[in-house]
């Protein structure tokens, strides 16, 4: 046990270098700055938008139209008393307004005669960022509300019938979501988004942890060869399994520290622009039972651990072929690809909707299973979770067995990938 601890300690001392700490700090600072910047932009977006209105008609109808204009939460409307559009634009600019809405002369008359009226909108553009330009959606929302209200008033006035709403929208919908034997009212899109948000970070955590773990192990092997320390290490009175385990655990600890620090920075960055969950959707998710229980999180954690263990075992085998720390970066490529492939496929598609061949490929890649598990656990579907864990455990055990076997042979010193003709040394 002492020898193992000694090896783990040495691995960590070798891998945690000043350069590594600097790059980690730099990364966290970068995420912090990006989060602050994006957070600032979001706050800016939340500020009310100033929209000016110039009434050139000056009739009772135009007055009522402006008075009744609905103001969305993030819009502030102000009236400008000028006699020309040019002057009104200047005034709008002075008020830091984003748009000028002009009610033309003859507005009231045309409305009365049901001719249809055209409003002119002048957008004041100072920059091209999101906060600088009023979207046509925002103005459209205001106009639509007025249109609807005017139409209702008109129908009620003409027909004296109070069912104008049903004339304009004869059909309405009420949505329900059914999961298993439970049915609750709600928007399926919103419910899906709330349910998946519980495990949305899993693939990212997995990708980062596996990539770091792989790089650490392969780099460690590459460094042993580059620094010519491997031969001495292999002649020490310590079991080869302890050397393999020591390297794996040391690298795993460093990788988890790195991934953890990365995730803190990344979470801060993500939190700067993720939307708040609505209470109704959250209640619906709870009623449907689509929530992760402590047991689900435990299973997910185990699944992640097994995926990291598998990555470490594979990385150890690949590390045997690394000749130095530089070539180690390249050797990690197969693991990165095996992580990235399921990550991107499962991000956009559900496993069930994929063609059989792709489904089989994903099941064969051990790193797909934590992402599959994250989705399955929300629906309390434990079979693919347990199956995936068993597969990963078996995969890791076989890889570790192969690794220890290689460590017990000449291959540990002679194995290499080379495109050139191999020269033999004695």
């Amino acid at each position: 046990m002492n020898n193992f601890y000694n090896l783990v300690k040495k691995e960590m001392k070798e891998l945690i270098t000043r350069q590594m700490i600097i790059s980690l700090v730099f990364m966290v600072v970068m995420f912090g700055m990006m989060g602050k910047f994006i957070g600032g932009v979001t706050d800016e977006e939340k500020k009310p938008i100033e929209i000016a209105i110039l009434d050139l008609d000056k009739t009772l109808i135009s007055h009522n139209f402006i008075e009744n204009m609905a103001q969305p939460e993030n819009v502030r409307i102000s009236i400008i008393n000028e006699d020309s559009i040019e002057k009104a634009i200047e005034k709008t600019k002075e008020r830091e307004g984003k748009a000028l809405l002009v009610v033309p002369q003859g507005f009231g008359k045309d409305i009365e005669e049901i001719k249809g009226v055209e409003l002119e909108i002048y957008s004041i553009v100072k920059g091209l960022s999101i906060g600088e330009v009023v979207s046509s959606g925002t103005l459209g929302q205001i106009i639509n509300t007025i249109n609807r209200k005017m139409a209702l008033d008109f129908i009620e006035e003409v027909t004296s019938d109070k069912r104008a709403k049903d004339v304009i929208n004869p059909i309405r919908t009420k949505e329900f979501v059914v999961v298993g034997d439970k049915t609750v009212p709600g928007d399926p899109g919103m419910i899906r988004s709330v349910a998946t948000s519980q495990s949305v970070m899993i693939p990212v955590i997995l990708m980062m942890a596996i990539m770091y773990a792989g790089i650490m192990v392969i780099t460690s092997m590459g460094m042993e060869k580059e620094n010519k320390t491997l031969e001495t290490l292999l002649t020490l009175p310590v079991k080869r399994t302890s050397i393999v385990a020591g390297k794996m655990v040391g690298a795993a600890i460093v990788a988890l520290i790195m991934a953890g620090v990365y995730m803190i920075g990344f979470s801060y960055y993500m939190s700067s622009f993720t939307s708040e969950v609505t209470g109704a959707a959250m209640t619906a998710v709870k009623e449907l039972g689509l929530v992760m229980t402590p047991a689900s999180y435990l299973l997910l954690g185990t699944s992640l651990f097994l995926a990291i263990l598998t990555a470490l075992s594979l990385a150890m085998i690949l590390g045997l072929f690394a000749q130095d720390a530089r070539s180690a970066q390249t050797m990690n490529m197969p693991i990165v690809l095996l992580v990235m492939f399921p990550f991107f496929v499962l991000m956009f598609k559900d496993l069930e909707n994929l063609p059989l061949v792709l489904k089989v490929i994903l099941y064969l890649i051990p790193f797909s299973h934590p992402t599959i598990a994250a989705k399955a656990l929300i629906f309390h579907d434990y079979l693919p979770v347990i199956g995936g864990m068993a597969y990963m455990a078996l995969f890791a055990a076989v890889a570790m067995y192969i690794c220890v076997r290689i460590f017990n042979t000449d291959k540990i010193l002679t194995a290499r990938f080379s495109f050139r003709k191999r020269k033999r040394g004695i």
Binding site: N3, K13, E14, K228, T232, L236, P237, D410, I426
Partner: protein, 240 residues
């Protein structure tokens, strides 16, 4: 049983290439035995096999009675190997490196302390021992590695070109140190290109060329046999 090393009919193949061709030799306990030969003769391969790094193709090797193939862990408990082109962990200080290595040879912290103390004395790096290995010169690294190889008083020290990269003064100090360790009971198996070093150090030598041992004996006996002034002349005569 007085034999530290017993090599019988040892063969080592790298694919189709036979690097060691059925060599046999024995080394007594406390003896300094040298494998002498040109580049590519098979010296390093033989040392790597005895150090448990390479597998035997055929033949047998016993270290203090332990079969190398069947009991490699037992063999590793008896040996300490210094490769010719060895390095130390660059992010560790010299002291940390010795402490890391001492852990494997010590039963408790008291023993570890005395092993490290001996290592620091052998390395003779003064205050630089506390600095990172990455700042060391080639000679300083070699002294640190030699200290690592000898500090635990191994039963068998396997030294591949022990004074490689050292200047004359340091080389002489190291040779004296190896002699003193042998006097205290450590068996030494070494390889060297330096014939003067071999003559000074070794009780017996084996002349090896193209994977075959051509002669074995004490330097004086071989010089007498070939009526040579020094081992270099003996070697030239033998490989003729």
């Amino acid at each position: 049983m007085d034999k530290a090393i017993e090599v019988s009919n040892l063969i080592k193949d790298y694919g189709n290439l036979r690097a060691i061709k059925e060599i046999s030799f024995q080394v007594d306990k406390g003896e300094i035995f040298g494998l002498i030969g040109p580049n590519g003769a098979g010296k390093t391969t033989a040392l790597r096999i005895i150090s448990t790094l390479l597998q035997v193709t055929s033949g047998s090797v016993k270290i203090f009675g332990y079969d190398l193939t069947k009991q490699p862990d037992k063999v590793r408990e008896c040996i300490s190997y210094l490769p010719e082109e060895a390095g130390a962990y660059k992010n560790l200080s010299g002291q940390d490196y010795l402490e890391f290595m001492a852990e494997f040879y010590s039963e408790n912290s008291q023993e570890k302390k005395s092993v490290v103390k001996r290592g620091v004395e052998i390395a003779q790096l003064s205050e630089r021992i506390k600095e990172k290995v990455s700042t060391y010169s080639k000679g300083m690294t070699r002294k640190l590695l030699l200290a690592r190889a000898l500090m635990a008083n191994p039963k068998l020290a396997i030294l591949d070109e022990p004074t490689s990269g050292l200047d004359v003064i340091n080389s002489q100090a190291i040779r004296r140190l190896i002699k003193s360790f042998a006097k205290n009971g450590t068996t030494v198996l070494l390889s060297s290109h330096n014939m003067l070093e071999v003559e000074f150090l070794c009780d017996r030598i084996a002349l090896i060329d193209k994977g075959v041992i051509l002669e074995t004996g004490s330097p004086q006996k071989l010089k007498d046999k070939y009526q040579a002034q020094n081992i270099e002349e003996v070697f030239m005569e033998v490989v003729k």
